[in-house]
């Protein structure tokens, strides 16, 4: 079975380390916050200017002046700091965020990522995504391995406008955990019950498959 959204988030959460400052993109990445391992503490950075993002507010805590980068009402945890957008992106672009998790439309064997625009269809803008992929050393892309129509999203070359060039090294999909190096995808783990054949078939870019491909653990 391909991973559920929750399982994807659980797998990504295994990459967390105690004391990490983490920026989570909209969608599946946001769910990662629900699976921080016990005894571990991470601090969430929201690029509109909040370090130490807490859970959604209760009804009586809702405050229009307290939102996250997805424009949702949120709270701040103890130890949080709040600052300007310039300061927020100084943090991000200066490489101070330990881990960035974001979604994508496509990635390719060169580590390129396309995630913000489908010409003629979707022209909303990149928001902070270009800054995040350019500023972080440690990025995890989460997405489905293929589109609804079965088209691979792990390509020899991205077809959509890029969000960033040569910046992606780790991809967690609903089928596999794949790393990118030396112009190739490297299969590291498969989702429980998913065959290597299915992953190979749904990966358009060159994929290096080791003799043994362990199943993901959560």
């Amino acid at each position: 079975m391909s991973l559920s959204r929750e399982q994807l988030a659980m797998r990504v959460a295994r990459e967390l380390q105690d004391g990490y400052y983490v920026n989570l993109g909209i969608g599946i990445p946001t769910l990662v916050a629900n699976y921080v391992p016990e005894g571990m503490e991470v601090m969430l950075q929201s690029e509109n200017g909040l370090l130490g993002m807490g859970p959604f507010p209760t009804d009586d805590q809702v405050d229009a002046d307290m939102i996250n980068a997805g424009k949702q009402t949120v709270t701040a945890i103890t130890g949080a700091s709040i600052f300007s957008s310039a300061e927020s992106f100084a943090m991000i672009r200066g490489g101070h965020v330990d881990l960035t998790v974001l979604g994508a439309f496509e990635v390719d064997v060169q580590g390129n990522i396309a995630s913000y625009m489908i010409p003629g269809k979707l022209i909303k803008g990149m928001g902070g995504a270009m800054d995040l992929v350019a500023g972080a050393d440690n990025i995890i892309v989460t997405m489905t391995h293929a589109s609804k129509h079965g088209e691979s999203k792990l390509l020899p070359q991205c077809t959509l406008p890029l969000t960033g060039a040569g910046c992606i090294k780790k991809v967690v999909t609903d089928l596999a955990y794949v790393e990118i190096a030396d112009g190739k995808f490297w299969l590291k783990e498969r989702a429980p019950g998913i065959s290597v054949d299915e992953i190979v078939q749904k990966t358009a870019g060159e994929l290096v498959v080791p003799e043994v491909v362990p199943e993901m653990e959560f």
């Binding site: 002046d65 424009k71 957008s85």
Partner: protein, 233 residues
């Protein structure tokens, strides 16, 4: 004494001098911390052919979105404009120009504009559409693109508290782009929830020193919420 009293008596006075074709830099992120009444005054004034530099363009019927209704905006410089249908319509019809700018680059361009830095190098956007046509330079083995700063004829800003010297404090995440916007306007206009007595704001805790502020007005705010998300108590 009067030289430092930035308080003006009306929104009309606050936006006096705004003319067709000018560039306005606006604070706010989504609908959070936006100068809603100053925007409404621009709508009321009917100024046209505006270039607006703002992370977003409000929503249909609120925030900067209201300036789309009478096609007052010629061009938007934004990182994300996905919240309004009218925007998309005018964009597809070719009535509106948009310069998509990465959010961090946008914040830095405003700061640089206010700080006398005409341009800076950044890794953001290298190898993408954003980098096309821009100078590329390598530092320590990595490639960066040259981004130029932004200044505006006007900057419109929303703060929480101010004293009449124009010293500003922002509330929670309503700070966002406002401090940078405040530095980058030839004329910077600020609306606030409360004007306090000089001396009430602790000098080291002022987010924006009054030197950047030309006009100040106390407003009342709707503070619309874009995505109300709650959990069980």
């Amino acid at each position: 004494m009067s030289g430092f009293d930035k308080v003006v008596g009306s929104y009309e006075e606050a936006m006096a001098g705004l003319e067709d074709g000018m560039t306005i830099i606006a604070g706010g992120f989504g609908l959070c911390g936006i100068p809603e009444n100053l925007i409404n005054e621009i709508k009321h004034k009917g100024t046209r052919e505006l270039t607006i530099v703002s992370n977003n363009c409000g929503v249909d019927g609120f925030g900067l979105g209201v300036l789309l209704e009478d096609r007052q905006i010629k061009k938007m410089v934004s990182s994300y404009v996905g919240e309004n249908k009218l925007f998309e319509e005018q964009l597809l019809a070719g009535d509106l120009e948009v310069e998509l700018t990465p959010q961090g680059t946008l914040a830095e361009k405003m700061r640089a504009g206010g700080a006398g830095i005409p341009a800076f190098y950044t890794a953001t956007g290298y190898g993408t559409e954003v980098g096309k046509g821009k100078d590329v330079k390598e530092f320590n083995g990595r490639k960066y693109i040259l981004e130029e700063s932004i200044t505006g004829d006007f900057a419109i800003v929303k703060a929480w508290k101010a004293d009449r010297y124009g010293n500003l404090v922002f509330r929670h995440t309503a700070q966002n782009f406002n401090p940078m916007a405040a530095t980058a306007g030839k004329i910077t206009v600020v609306e606030v929830e409360e004007i306090v007595e000089p001396g009430e704001l602790e000098p080291t805790q002022i987010h924006t020193p009054g030197i950047y502020v030309n006009r100040l007005i106390k407003g009342t705010f709707e503070k619309r919420i874009e995505q109300r998300t709650v959990r069980e108590a």
